[in-house]
């Protein structure tokens, strides 16, 4: 088992003919993912490594029946691409694009909710269920992805795409595989937060523990703490918090769009306090994570 994606997942890539998207297509195919189609307006009829390109999502979905889409279109066109995908029946959207204005992200998420679709991201690298499906750039080239990610029992959620792989790599080195790893995105508003993905992991027999990566900014960790306390979760959680130096630099944005200290609740210190209050273990260093997870299994 796993969450969100498995060996039966098939998806399309919107913006497939872009430079980074072409690489990503190759990587996903090499890893064994079922990339069944791509969309770039005006490029219909071509192919990218054998993946047929269409002008519209509707056409791609009608021909191949995909239920997922990875979006790598420029920020000015992302909202439209998301609406198009949802309108054509796509239920799982991985929005890779960064720098989408917050109002548009809010609109995309509301539209998705109206159609029972889920958005992962924006500003994320995607989802991976090791050896079954890699949906997005997460892990990079297939050979590198296989080095970092191994099948196992730890669910990973991270606001940073790069740190998702760094944490998986540390878990793998410590003999712990992953059930599913989700790069949830670094924007101030994202489609699926830690607390919203927890019920999925909770319902997944294979997942025995959770590791999260977090940063200063936003109320998402506080919400996770609340969720854990209210739902008496069976899953032990280990958290890593980066950007502790930012507590002394209010108003300055580092890293992701959502990473800024504006009020007390945004600071690393306050977030750590709340996580610990909920019984979530906090690792000082990435390399401590495997031992902390093992102690709690």
């Amino acid at each position: 088992m796993s969450i969100l994606v498995d060996e039966n997942t098939s998806f399309i890539i919107q913006g497939i003919t872009g430079r980074e998207a072409v690489n990503m297509t190759r990587e996903c195919l090499d890893y064994g993912s079922q990339v069944v189609g791509g969309v770039t307006p005006g490029r219909g009829g071509r192919d990218v490594y054998g993946v047929p390109v269409y002008d519209t999502v509707r056409e791609a979905v009608e021909k191949h029946g995909a239920t997922g889409s990875v979006l790598t279109v420029p920020p000015a066109f992302t909202r439209d691409a998301v609406f198009e995908a949802i309108d054509a029946g796509i239920k799982l959207l991985v929005v890779v694009t960064e720098r989408i204005p917050r109002a548009q992200v809010s609109e995309m998420i509301e539209f998705a909710a109206m159609h029972d679709a889920r958005i992962i991201g924006p500003n994320c690298l995607g989802i991976i269920t090791p050896e079954k499906c890699k949906m997005g750039g997460i892990g990079g080239p297939a050979a590198d992805t296989r080095k970092a990610y191994k099948p196992g029992n730890v669910g990973v959620m991270s606001r940073s795409g790069g740190m998702t792989t760094e944490i998986a790599n540390a878990l793998t080195a410590g003999g712990l595989g992953q059930s599913t790893a989700v790069s949830i995105g670094g924007d101030a508003i994202i489609g699926s937060t830690y607390a919203e993905l927890m019920p999925l992991f909770e319902a997944d027999d294979e997942t025995k523990a959770i590791v999260i990566y977090s940063e200063p900014g936003g109320p998402m960790d506080a919400k996770l703490s609340e969720w854990v306390q209210e739902n008496d979760s069976r899953l032990p959680i280990v958290a890593f918090m980066a950007g502790r130096f930012m507590d002394k630099m209010p108003g300055m944005r580092f890293g992701h769009a959502g990473t800024i200290v504006e009020g007390k609740q945004d600071t690393a210190a306050e977030k750590l306090r709340r996580l610990e209050e909920a019984g979530i273990a906090v690792a000082e260093e990435i390399e401590q994570i495997p031992a902390l997870v093992k102690e709690r299994l």
Partner: protein
Amino acid sequence: MRFYEFEAKQLLAKQGVPTPSGGVAETPADAERIATEVGGAVVLKSQVLSGGRMKAGGVKFADTPAEAKAAAAEILQLEISDQLPVSVLVEAKAGIKQEYYLGVTYDAIAKQPVAIFSDMGGIDIEEVAEQHPDHVAKRNFSALLPFSDYKMKELIASLGIGGRELTTLTRIGSRLAHTFLKYGLTLAEINPLSQLDDGSFVALDCHLDMEDEARDLQKDLLAEMGIDADETRQGRPPTDFERRGAQVDQVDARGVAGRVVEFDGDLGLVIGAGGGSLTIFDAVQRHGGNPANYCEIGGNPSVLKACELTKLVLSKPGVDKIAVIMNVVSNTRVDIVARGVVKGVIEAGFEPSDKIVFFRIPGAWEGEGFKILEKYGVEYGDRTVSMSEAARRAVEKLGAS
């Protein structure tokens, strides 16, 4: 980016929000003239981007134009959080009957805009929410559907406000919400929104924030307000080093190698990506190191960008050595970063094996990257060396040199 108070008030006034009479003074003589025009007592407020003006002495009162001139002279020379004000806002001072709070921002949990109202204005809203939760009301609204004013009416009425106060506050709140949506703001706050002795309402202080992502869409507005594209308007103005960092990031459209923030230390950092940079910066400090800068590499930048970023970091006075560390990379290529960094060190006139205290970037194309580092005798670590361990080795090596 944060707007100065005077800019925020000008923008809100154009949208129909009542603001105090007065004007912006760049000299004490201006302040005297504005105070004469206003007639009567005035308040003078330092125009800086940081908070805490009142405590720092950046807000003064004056009963006569001569007093206003003297107060303006003092405020214009007063640094607040290391910033000199750009101007002084001179406004009519009036008797206040009641202070309210009205704000619109995004709620990351509901993932929608949220309007916030309180009948205890004039103090920090977070503090009111903590100590007097029954005096704060919140209401989410859709960014997808058109904004409808009844939402603001329901919000304000929920705190027991009725009569003319309700209709006036609804009108002001709705204009605030429309402004928020129209200009891609992430925060639009009037605090206090004051009811004066004569019953009229006026926005005594306000705070507007626009996210960088919206700046392209709001080019016309920003041009009209005279705000340049390179004004970052963050917690402090950018340093020259940071401005040059932004230029490096613009040498081509491939990936990111920039987002530089200057610090006082001696260890130059060439690090990435978003989350990785935060992790590495913490680790360097935890191991007793003093970073000279923060920066970010990501999204597979070109050799040129990595090279220029390296040269920039090396050019900073006091930087003796650099550490090159990233998390396990997915799309950024190790070989491209390695080539760029080595090239940058050589072009700056140094030996890579001497200047780079440690290199740790595992992941995509690592084999090719490690070959380059071996050729130039640069000490490196693969994925079995943690980010923290890499930071520790860099700090120790710098200390020993």
